[in-house]
Symmetry: C2
Subunit: 211 residues, 2 copies
DNA sequence: TAGATTGTTAATCGATTAACAATC
DNA sequence: TAGATTGTTAATCGATTAACAATC
């Protein structure tokens, strides 16, 4: 993928924190403040900014407005980010109505399913048959799709999407799809994260008794 | 957290791949095969195994049955992993019915919400009022909860859970909750992952034209 | 045996941190 | 000015990879 994933996550975190600071009436911020708020070191904050040519003032810190603007631009937040949902099961429906999306400028513009029963072209977020997905995506220049189809269908759907102008998916099927430079894949494996949690808890209990 | 997150993810991946190999009738596997299947190097596979005292046979590779068993034990897959859902919005309901869970030995045993309308103590997965959560968790020795409450409620719920025998949450609220050694938190920030995708796509298009 | 693969040690790589000169 | 903070360079740290002796 494009360089380092972690630094992008941190930039988004910095932005979120600064937006909250701004809401509080703050105007400037030091690398030290951001570091505390985000649980990283001040060096790293400055290094991250410097990597993306985001500069502040010696002695004066960073102007919040300034930096938030630059970060938004960098993260593509200057335009609405349109996505489609592929697979209208429970999870797909949850995403269609997810109110965290509008808040950050992400808009679900359509959904697709193979079950004719649930199609509804007139709904606020229309649900089309998956056979129409290539046509829709290209016509609407969609770049990102959320995959909430069953595992056996996931790989095939990625192959279909690769033939469109869509350039990335967020995959919720419990299968690690491999991305590439020209087609990005973010896997979200809920089962995996929960297993991880159990492992870490078990590990902590076993290896650090009474800490 | 307990050491390195990535290595645990890889171990789970190795196990998943080996389970599929086993289903195909294979009996043994070389580090090289696993490396190819998981997109890592053979050195790393061997190093990962060695870190957890998982050994094979020089010349003979690894016996799949053997290793899968050891990995399952390591990942806590020898027992059912019980979780509760906190927050029965769309996402919470999707998780309650998520059929990826039973398949990997995770069981949703109860859900909690503050809306009296949707409570149902008699459902296959009972939905109780959140005020009963501490009592329930301690009585049933629940270690892990999935948090699908609105952002403003997330932090308070974590504080409540810390007072119980629950020792970790998977958090779907778009706020980065900080974990600790005695209380693990896995944040799943869907908005964040999608923003990431847009950034990476944008970056790839800008920095590698025509690749 | 000869050949192939593990397990481990040493080398490499990349990311984070520490330090500090520049400077507001 | 004196003090504080940035921006950047050098040092550190940890994870991955390469190499290879041990050995099946």
């Amino acid at each position: 993928m494009g360089g380092n994933q972690e630094v992008i996550r941190r930039l988004a975190k910095y932005r979120n924190v600064m937006q909250k600071m701004k809401a509080l009436g703050l105007v400037k911020v030091f690398s030290d403040n951001l570091a505390d708020a985000c649980g990283v070191s001040a060096s790293l904050v400055r290094k991250d900014f410097s990597m993306f040519s985001i500069t502040g003032n010696k002695r004066g810190g960073y102007r919040i407005d300034d930096i938030v603007g630059k970060l938004n631009l960098l993260l593509g937040k200057d335009k609405k980010q349109k996505i489609v949902i592929v697979g209208c099961g429970k999870l797909g429906q949850a995403l269609m109505n997810h109110n965290g999306f509008p808040r950050v400028g992400i808009r679900v513009v359509a959904a697709f399913d193979s079950d004719p029963e649930i199609l509804d072209a007139e709904a606020p977020i229309p649900i089309f048959h998956v056979k129409r997905i290539r046509e829709y995506i290209d016509a609407n220049k969609i770049k990102v799709a959320a995959l909430t189809v069953p595992e056996p269908a996931a790989l095939g759907m990625v192959e279909t999407l690769k033939k469109t102008c869509c350039r990335g998916v967020i995959n919720f099927a419990p299968i690690a799809l491999k991305g590439a430079d020209d087609f990005m894949i973010q896997n979200i494996n809920i089962e995996q994260e929960i297993e991880n949690l159990f492992y870490n808890i078990h590990f902590a209990e076993t290896h650090r008794p009474g800490t």
